[in-house]
C-alpha cells in the first residue's frame, strides 16, 4: 500500500495514540492516591486511559469512514506554496527575533510574505511601514514588550 493512500484521520489517530501512551506512562510517576484523597496522578491516569479507549474506536472508524488521504491533505499549487512559505517565515521569526530584534525580523518576514504576491520593492516598503506601525502601537501605545536586539529595537 502506498503510504500516501493512508487516511489523514488514521495517521492523526496513530500519532495521538503514541502521545497518549507516553502521557500514560509518565503519569505513573505521580501518586494516584494520597492519604486523604486523589493525588496528582489520579486525573492524568484516568484521562489518558479513557483517551486511549476512544482512540481505538476512532482508529477502527477511520478505516470505515470516508476522509482525506495523506496525498490530498496538502493543497497543490499556489495555495500550498503560500502555506509552506508562511510556516517557514514563522519559524524564521521564532529563531531570529531574539537576535535581530523585532523590527529587522518583521521586515524580513513580511517581505517574504508580501513578496509572494506583489513586487519585492513594494513588499519591502510595505513591510517596513507595517513593522514600524506595529512597533509603535505595541511598544509605545499599548506598552506591550516586543522582542528586541541588543540595540533595543
Amino acid at each position: 500500500m502506498n503510504r500516501f493512500s493512508v487516511k489523514l484521520a488514521t495517521a492523526v489517530t496513530v500519532i495521538l495514540t503514541a502521545l497518549t501512551t507516553a502521557y500514560l506512562v509518565e503519569s505513573f510517576n505521580y501518586n494516584y492516591w494520597q492519604r486523604y484523597g486523589p493525588g496528582p496522578g489520579f486525573m492524568p491516569r484516568w484521562a489518558s486511559v479513557i483517551t486511549l479507549g476512544v482512540l481505538i474506536v476512532c482508529f477502527y472508524q477511520s478505516f470505515k469512514e470516508e476522509g482525506k488521504t495523506l496525498a490530498d491533505t496538502f493543497p497543490k499549487g499556489h495555495g500550498g506554496v503560500n502555506v509552506i512559505v508562511t510556516w517557514a517565515s514563522l519559524i524564521l521569526f521564532l529563531t531570529l527575533s531574539k537576535t535581530l530584534g523585532f523590527t529587522v525580523t518583521s521586515v524580513i518576514m513580511l517581505t517574504i510574505l508580501f513578496g509572494r504576491n506583489i513586487k519585492w520593492h513594494k513588499a519591502l516598503v510595505l513591510s517596513l511601514i507595517v513593522s514600524l506601525c506595529c512597533l509603535f502601537v505595541f511598544k509605545s501605545l499599548l506598552q506591550v514588550p516586543v522582542p528586541v536586539n541588543k540595540y533595543g529595537w
Binding site: L8, P38, T51, L110
Partner: protein
Amino acid sequence: MDTVFHLISGLTNAMAGMNLLYCTIGVVAGMVVGVLPGLGPTAGTALLLPVTFGMSATEAIIMLSGIYYGAMYGGTITSVLINAPGEAASVITCLDGYPMAKQGRAGAALGVAAIGSFIGGIISLIGLLIIGPLVAEQALKFGPPEYFCLMLVGLTLVVGLLGKSLVKGLIVALMGLMLSLIGTDSSMGTVRFSMGIDNLISGLDFVGIAMGAFGLSEIFESLEQDLKVTKELPKVSGLFPEKDEWPVVLRSIGRGSLLGFFIGLIPGTNSIIPTVISYAGEKKLSKHPEKFGKGAIEGVAGPETANNSYCGGALVPLFTLGIPTSPVMAVLIGAFIIHGVTPGPTLFTKHADLVWTVIASMFIGNVLLVIMNLPLAKAWAQVARIPGKILFPIIIIIALLGVYGMNNSMFDVGSMIFFGIVGYFMKKADFPMAPLLLTFILGNQLEVSLVQSMTIFRGDFALFLTRPICLVLLSIVVTTLFVSAFTGKKRKEVFGSEETEM
C-alpha cells in the same frame, strides 16, 4: 429593583471615558472581523486577546465582547452585498439578502438586519439581566460533586453537538484536558509532564493555544484560497422596509429574539442553529413561502435577529456558571482569568461592578452598531475587498507580537505556531478544535472539583449517584452521548457538517 439599580450604575460606568472608548474600538474591530471572509469571531477575539493585557479587567471584557457581537453584525453586510458571508452565522442571510440586493433593495435588507440585530441583542441582554442573577443564586448552592457534573454536562453537550464525529470530538476534548494538566498541580504543587522545560512548570498558556488553534490555523486554511473579492458592490439606498412589510418584519424579529436567546442558553449550540431554525420557521409561517430564496424580507429579519440574540443567551452560562458554551466564550473566559476574575456563581456578587458595566456596555455597543451600520454599510463592505495577500501577513505579525507580549517569551510564540500547524491538520482530518479549548480552560476546575468530590466520597465513584442533582446531570451526560451517537448523521445533514465557529 436591585437589577435596575445595578444596571443604571453599570451604564454610568460604561459611559465613563476609557470604557466607552474600548467599547467603540471593540465593536469597530468586531465589524472588521465580521466583514472579512476567512476570519470569524473566535479567531478575532483570540487574535486580539493580547491587545487587552495593558487594560483593566472591565475594559478588556468590554472590548472583547464588543468584538464578539460586532462580528455578528459585520458578517451580514458582505452576505447581503456580495453574497460572501463574513462569518458562519450569516450564511443563511445570503439566501434572501443577496437576492434583495440584486433587486435594488440592499438598503432594506441591511436596515432590517441591523434593526433585527439591535432588537435581538437588546432582548437577549434583558433575558441575561433577568435570568443571570437567578441562575447564579441557585448555582451557589452547588458543592464540588454537583459542579463537576455540571461542567461535564456542558462539555458533553459541546462535544455532542459540534463537529462531524462524536468520537473525534471526545478525543479532542480529552486532549485539551490532558494539556491542561501539564504544569504544577493545584492541590499538591507537584510539577507534572514538564519534561524538564522551565516554561512548562507553570503550564501551557491558554492564549498561545487559542491563537494557534483558532487564529493561525484559520489563516493557514484561508491562505490556500484566493480571497480577493472582485464583485462590484450594489447600490445601497432606502434603509427601511416598505410600510406594509413592517408587521411581518416585526413578528419575525420577535420570534428570532426569543429563539436565539433560548438556544444560546444551551451549551454546544452554535449561532447557525438558531438562524437555520428561524429561517425554516419563517418559511413555514409565511403566507408566501415561494418567495423565500428570492428575496423574502422575513428570511433576513428572523435569522439575523436570532444570531445576535444568541450572543446574549450564550453569556448566561458563562457569567453564572463559569462554563463556556462555545469557543468564543472560552476565549472570553480566558480573558476573565488572565485579568484575575473567575466567572461563575460568585461573579454577580464579588465582581458586581465589572459584570454590570460589561452588560451595560453591550447595550451601548448595540446602539453604536446600529449607528455605524445603517449609514455606513457600503463603506464596511469595502473592507471585505482588502485582499488576503495584504491582510493575512499583517494579522500574523500582530498575533506574533501579541502572544510574545503576554509573558515576554518566545516559548509562547513557539507554542502558538505549533498549535496553529497542529490545528490546521486536525481540522483537515475532521477533528473539531472547539472542545480542545473548552476542556483546556475548564481542566483545572474539573480536576479540583473531581479531587474534592473523591476526597468527600473517599474514593467511591458510585456515591455521585446518591446525590439527586448529580444523578440528573449525569443522566443528561449519558443521554446526550447516546443521542449524539445515534442521531449525529441526520443532525449534521440539517445543520451542516463543518465545525462552525460559534
